[in-house]
């Protein structure tokens, strides 16, 4: 066996090691944000493929943090590729931005805004998450991912907003509309349960 082959074998072993040690975590990281198993699997694969192409990747001192950073940018790229859904006004129907169902003609709330009791016990919490997942499923998946990215990584909030250009007018109107929808959905399916 040549020296080159044996160094290749070492690299392979290293890569497999990382896959076994960090693959599950990276998958959960992606799943928590994308909420789609296939997309999450693809993102993990792309992350590892990008990682081994990096120079000297075997020398990284905290591989999990490094890999997670790659994964995060892969997810942002994925969202950016489809970010017409977020930015383009031509894809936004009146229904997406219309708030009329929530307010009367004078701009007052059409319905009482009730005080919410947020879940307290662990069991309640689990049930609440199920309802919240279902409510998230009703809005465009990219907006749902955006909410998850933002709120799971507050420190990077600005960066993510910038990358996805969500300070543009259309984008925040859509985010507002999505929040109104989720709020309403929760009020019907959870708060009144």
């Amino acid at each position: 066996m040549t020296t080159k082959d044996s160094s290749k074998d070492k690299t392979k072993k290293h890569a497999h090691d990382w896959l076994n040690k960090h693959g599950d975590y990276l998958y959960r990281f992606a799943l928590a944000r994308l909420r789609d198993q296939h997309q999450a699997e693809d993102m993990v694969q792309e992350t590892f493929m990008a990682a081994i192409k990096s120079d000297n990747f075997t020398a990284k001192s905290s591989p999990r943090t490094w890999l997670t950073g790659i994964l995060k940018h892969k997810i942002i790229d994925l969202m950016r590729k489809g970010n017409r859904e977020i930015n383009a006004s031509d894809l936004m129907s009146d229904q997406d931005t219309n708030m009329d169902e929530f307010f009367d003609k004078e701009g007052h709330w059409a319905e009482e805004i009730k005080d919410w009791n947020m879940p307290e016990s662990a069991l309640e919490q689990q049930q609440f998450f199920k309802v919240l997942q279902n409510c998230l499923d009703k809005i465009p998946s990219k907006l749902a991912t955006l909410f998850m990215m933002r709120d799971l990584q507050e420190a990077d909030n600005k960066e993510i907003c910038k990358e996805l250009d969500i300070s543009s007018t259309n984008a925040w109107v859509m985010l507002h509309r999505a929040r109104m929808g989720i709020r309403k959905c929760l009020e019907i399916n959870w708060i009144g349960h």
Binding site: E41, R150, L152
Partner: protein, 82 residues
């Protein structure tokens, strides 16, 4: 005074962008006087917390693992690339 429709928009916008001092003042004044909007604004914050907790619960759930088939597929791709 601004309407609830405007106030709710500003409350939401404030989560995504920095509001001007004038907007912030007008919003806070409205929230101070309006029970519904003040609840709404609180609910938006609760929603953020809920998203974060829900995501964290997935991240922390050791029962969720990369499917073995996928793991094997990735291992194969890595091997052919190295």
């Amino acid at each position: 005074m601004m309407s609830c429709k405007q106030a709710s928009q500003l409350a939401s916008q404030g989560l995504d962008t920095k509001l001007s001092i004038r907007d912030r003042f007008a919003l806070n004044f409205h929230l101070f006087l309006c029970k519904y909007c003040s609840r709404f604004s609180q609910q938006l914050r609760s929603l953020s917390v809920a998203f974060s907790k829900m995501g964290q619960s997935i991240e922390d759930d050791n029962n969720i693992t990369l499917p073995t088939e996928t793991k094997n597929r990735i291992a194969k791709s890595l091997d052919s690339e190295i």
